[in-house]
Symmetry: C2
Subunit: 248 residues, 2 copies
């Protein structure tokens, strides 16, 4: 699979040619020793063409984050209150892994390059920060007026990004051979189960998606009776409860 396989109708071939040329040179001679002039010479275009698509050499390493950030922002802007907020930001995060999984060899190459070049890691941190802010802003809107709304928004956004990136890195370390979507689903399920609770959009309101995605055994209409001492650690009680509900 070549770099151009990430091309969609919206992406001009010259942009793809620049990305392909840049990566060929980064791998041959290293990132630091490749100049924008080297890239445009290999791609057979002028410097102005490069800067029309990429503000800097760093941007050519991450050619699709701007598109993905725009997609995420648009996705989160569809503010239906029918979406359970934590589930919604998890779905938004899935847009990122999908971008990586569009072209595994390219994503893996870039991962290896980014680990070696401190400037690229700094760039990546700033991109991750922008994704996290987009998720947090959405949640702040959904939790507006609620007690500790901004705190919960920031914490959940950070947890979602950390879970997503944990799974994404495992996939990248596997050389793109494992199932990226399954790994991210598993990781995000962990965050949903930790946070689905305080994410209620309003008292008494139904949360159609809140428990979706978690398979449950047993008959849903069974009644569970749980007896515990008041001073038992809460986590143990919740563990017993989950186990009784067949979700352990």
């Amino acid at each position: 699979m070549s770099t151009s396989s990430t091309a969609s109708a919206a992406k001009p071939p010259m942009r793809d040619a620049l990305v392909a040329a840049a990566f060929q040179l980064f791998l041959e001679r290293g990132y630091e020793r490749t100049t924008v002039d080297d890239i445009v010479t290999l791609a057979g275009v002028g410097r102005r063409s490069f800067f029309r698509y990429f503000p800097s050499k760093e941007d050519v390493v991450f050619p699709d984050h701007e598109r993905c950030l725009a997609e995420m922002t648009a996705f989160l802007a569809e503010r239906g209150t029918e979406h359970e907020p934590v589930r919604r930001v998890c779905d938004a995060a899935r847009l990122v892994v999908r971008m990586y999984a569009e072209n595994p060899p390219f994503s893996v190459q870039r991962y290896r390059l980014t680990k070696q070049v401190p400037g690229l890691r700094a760039y990546e941190l700033s991109v991750v920060w922008r994704y996290e802010r987009a998720l947090a802003e959405y949640l702040r809107g959904r939790f507006a007026g609620q007690s500790d709304g901004t705190l919960r928004a920031d914490v959940i956004a950070a947890a979602v990004v950390a879970a997503h990136n944990n799974a994404l890195r495992s996939w990248l370390r596997s050389g793109g051979r494992t199932d990226a979507d399954a790994a991210v689903d598993h990781a995000l399920g962990h965050v949903q189960s930790a946070f689905a609770c305080p994410a209620a959009p309003g008292a008494g309101q139904e949360l159609p998606g809140a428990q979706g995605g978690f398979p449950r055994a047993g008959h849903p209409e069974d009644v569970i009776v749980l007896v515990s001492r008041r001073d038992a650690p809460l986590w143990r009680v919740v563990q017993q409860l989950e186990s009784a509900r067949g979700r352990d």
Copy 2:
């Protein structure tokens, strides 16, 4: 309060003089238009003295993060299994707010400066990332061999950092006038209540600190009987449970 009030016995006066000179110039003429030469001229020392303390101009803006990172690493290296892991990383994060609260006017000045200068924000992101990695590495050690250990470690570390920074930013925006410790305690309490549960160091082991810090009403040895339908949303059941325990 002057910048030198952060001085401890371990910090040489020349280092403090460089920080004071740097901030005086940053405020007078802006960060970008201040050079290292300007700073050393005002402080009355040579360039080599500057670079003995600070690798770059950016580092003089954050003179205490290296010390704080070292303290955090040392604190987390005392690996007693008697420490409940989530509580331990929350305590480690408190070292950071304490550093900021040592000198409120300096911290507030720096916060305003950092918001204006993109290069400093990038630098700050990299520092935050190092704190988060320190917390995550500790938790990965504590959760080693457990199912989803690295995932849980990364998510909890990110949540702790996000909660800490949410409270820290509120304090900085208040001009350093509110109670930084109280704000951070409140924010970290939120993370502890979300995550104290899967943080058990081992099955059947006691967690002396797991529930500490959360005041509870009622008699600890009361028995709580909770009846719920199996298909009731888990968050609602936990909410009822918490309310019955007097922790709501």
